[in-house]
Symmetry: C2
Subunit: 82 residues, 2 copies
Amino acid sequence: MLKAAVYVTMKQNVLDPQGKASQEALKALGYEEVSSVRIGKYIELKLDTNNRAEAEERVKAMCEQLLVNTVVEDYRFELTEE
Amino acid sequence: MLKAAVYVTMKQNVLDPQGKASQEALKALGYEEVSSVRIGKYIELKLDTNNRAEAEERVKAMCEQLLVNTVVEDYRFELTEE
């Protein structure tokens, strides 16, 4: 069994309103040191396979077909033994 | 400057409808090996400080006050030099 941890973030040049709103809220709570907040998705996939090379390819395809909007989002992932 | 990477996931005993829907969609696309999908938040905070101990405390407080719903979500974070 393998586990894929996928980190999805907005591309740097794309506005992140949710991040901006959280930053303002944190400042209002007194956390002045926060200079930027970017909010993305953290996805955990459990895979019934031990074939690492194949899993690498297929997780990439799953991200680009369904899990990530590659027009406005970047992604990276890590595979670990479960 | 420090960077905090915060990983927010639904508690294990809490239903994750978004994860379930993604799992069904992946299966429909032929990715039968996916046995579970859990979707959470990935938050990147940039902090204008180099005081690691203080940053540790304050990021924990930011999570529990604003960024995380501790009733249904778990979280962990990592601090790195930016």
